[in-house]
Amino acid sequence: MNVCKPNLKAALSESLFERIPFDPEKSELTGYSNYSYWQSTFRTFFKKRSSVLLLTIMCAFVLMSLLYPMICEMIPGWETSYRNPNFAETGSATWNLAPCAEHLFGTDNIGRDMWSRTWYGTRTSLLLGFVIAFFDVTLGTIAGALWGYVRRIDRFMTELYNIVTNIPQTVYLVLFTYILRPSFWTIVLAMCLTGWLSIARFVRNRVVAIRENEYNIASQCLGTPLFRILIKNIVPYIVSIIIMEVALTIPYSIGSEVFLSYINLGLPLDVVSLGNLVSVGKNSFEVYPFQLIYPTIILSFVTVSFYIVGNRFADASDPRNHI
């Protein structure tokens, strides 16, 4: 039934439309979306003002701890070193000074500047955190992806996980620092020995959940090699977990170093680390509280900003949170 009036029909005549010549480039565009994973991740992340602020603080701390030891004139321990030309003058007069213009954070019990020690310590602790996070997460992700995807090794890995996690972590830490000499790499080794397994377990659980998806079966049917499936199909799904693990491992490692120093198993005392600063500061807290308070404030800023930025970035890197 035609209800169109004749004049309308005339108005809708061909003259209103224009024929577009075939353009191969434009025809490609119909199936194209300008969605880019990393771009969306960053856009989602930077949308929150507080995230940007925290990221700035975090970068400032990292830069400060990296650059300060290069530009500062005071090397920790220099004031009391015999190579210092002013060595004869530096006596008990410079010990335990309260914060002042020359020593922003005061000095410690043998006159070393706390400000420079704090930044040296932050550098050591951050380095420790980064190294542990790197090994833990790299190993954990690879092992976890394999563990989840390859069924044959599931049984073995589960048993290994049960055995390793059943030994209290203190046992490893203490045993290792006793068998080997206490050093930077001893702590890294002892922490990574158990750390990678718990990350692998976490990754494995996520991989098991997406293992049976159709696109994986399709890839298998097409004969895609195992590692390509893992890297192209599986890993992008667990990027947010990986980022979160990195962000959580760094504060956790810094905290463990503080704990180890407290039970006298940390880094050697001549290495400046936040753990050593805290355990020395704790002993003199009653008399000189600033020796604990200032390094603690810096330490807390570093760990808290890493923790929050990591969580926010992990949220942003989850495709479900993209618009």
Binding site: E159, N162, I163, T165, N166, I167, P168, T170, V171, V174, L175, Y178, I179, V208, P251, I254, G255, V258, F259, Y262, I263, N264, L265, V278, K282, F285, T296, L299, S300, T303, V304, F306, Y307, I308
Partner: protein
């Protein structure tokens, strides 16, 4: 189910056995000089030193020694400590120390369950509003700042503010409060953050939306549907945490000088008291395995959809 429990028990025994064996071998890797104090080392002749090492089981065929150790263990003899408390039965030492850690641990677990779950519920209900922000702030501080620092500052601040003694004393109940609260701080955060997450996940499910559209009141919906489902993944860890309270907390027990289990393992390893280390490792790993096992069973009891026997195939 019975078959599953039997199989699982055998597996657990095997993994405890392997754990203990590995630690047993690791202890034999330590340099033997560490068994002597400097004076002892100088005063003893080479033969005497060897005799002492054999006596404490530091040298010799590790397999044979391990067999002897396990044999004694099955007869209920835990052996005696050599260095920490010379010639005192380990069973005695444990009987003296465990009650402290157990008492503090149990009370603090109840406390942190109540507070943590309440906090998690409040955070999930007020998602995106001030309760959530406040709770998140607490969780971030507790989890990101090294525990030693905030526990120590808390101890100084609270004991100074209320003029109570800093150290734990058995006769003065006021000194019991602060260690218990300190012990709960991190587990409160743990329960709260996970309950919040599971509750938020559950609230987006269709059955919840359906129940709400039928006109079910919010409180009833929470209690009957959301909370019950959200608690299942958490409940898996209750038995483990309950059992591991025995091991105590190193930081808190040393801050308040509580004579509990906390520092015993570290001390035993530092002093190279091998017999004590072995017993403690057996104890902790057996409790760990048992805790995971009980957790799985508890989960089945709470959630009839979960079956252990099927899970193994998946």
């Amino acid at each position: 189910m019975a078959k599953y429990i039997f199989k699982r028990t055998l597996q657990s025994l095997l993994s405890v056995f392997i754990v203990v064996f590995v630690v047993f071998l690791l202890l034999r890797l330590m340099p033997t000089d560490g068994y002597f104090t400097r004076d002892d080392y100088q005063n003893m002749s080479e033969a005497e030193r060897q005799m002492y090492l054999v006596e404490i089981g530091a040298v010799g065929n590790p397999i044979k020694l391990f067999g002897e150790f396990m044999g004694k263990l099955f007869r209920g003899d835990l052996g005696e400590s050599y260095v920490l408390q010379p010639h005192r039965a380990i069973a005695d030492i444990l009987a003296e120390k465990i009650p402290y850690s157990l008492a503090f641990g149990t009370v603090s677990m109840v406390l942190s369950l109540i507070l943590g779950l309440l906090m998690g519920m409040a955070m999930a209900k007020g998602k995106g509003k001030w309760p959530d922000a406040l709770g998140t702030g607490y969780v971030v501080i507790v989890r990101a700042v090294p525990s030693l620092i905030y526990l120590f500052l808390l101890q100084i601040a609270i004991t100074g503010l209320f003029h109570i003694p800093m150290m734990f004393s058995e006769r003065n109940p006021v000194t019991w409060i602060l260690p218990t609260v300190s012990l709960s701080l991190s587990s409160i955060a743990w329960y709260a953050i996970w309950l919040r997450r599971f509750m938020v996940d559950e609230e987006n499910r269709d059955y919840v939306k359906f129940a709400r559209s039928k006109g079910m009141t919010d409180w009833k919906l929470m209690k009957r549907h959301v909370l019950r489902n959200a608690l299942v993944p958490l409940a898996q860890y209750f038995p483990l945490q309950m059992l591991l309270t025995i091991s105590g907390s190193l930081v808190i027990e040393s801050l308040y000088s509580i004579p509990g289990m906390g520092g015993l393992l570290v001390e035993a390893i530092q002093e190279m008291d091998n017999s004590l280390v072995q017993v403690l490792v057996i104890l902790y790993s057996a409790l760990g395995v048992l805790g995971v096992f009980l957790g799985d069973i508890l989960m089945v009891l709470l959630d009839p959809r979960i079956r252990l026997t099927d899970k193994k195939e998946g």
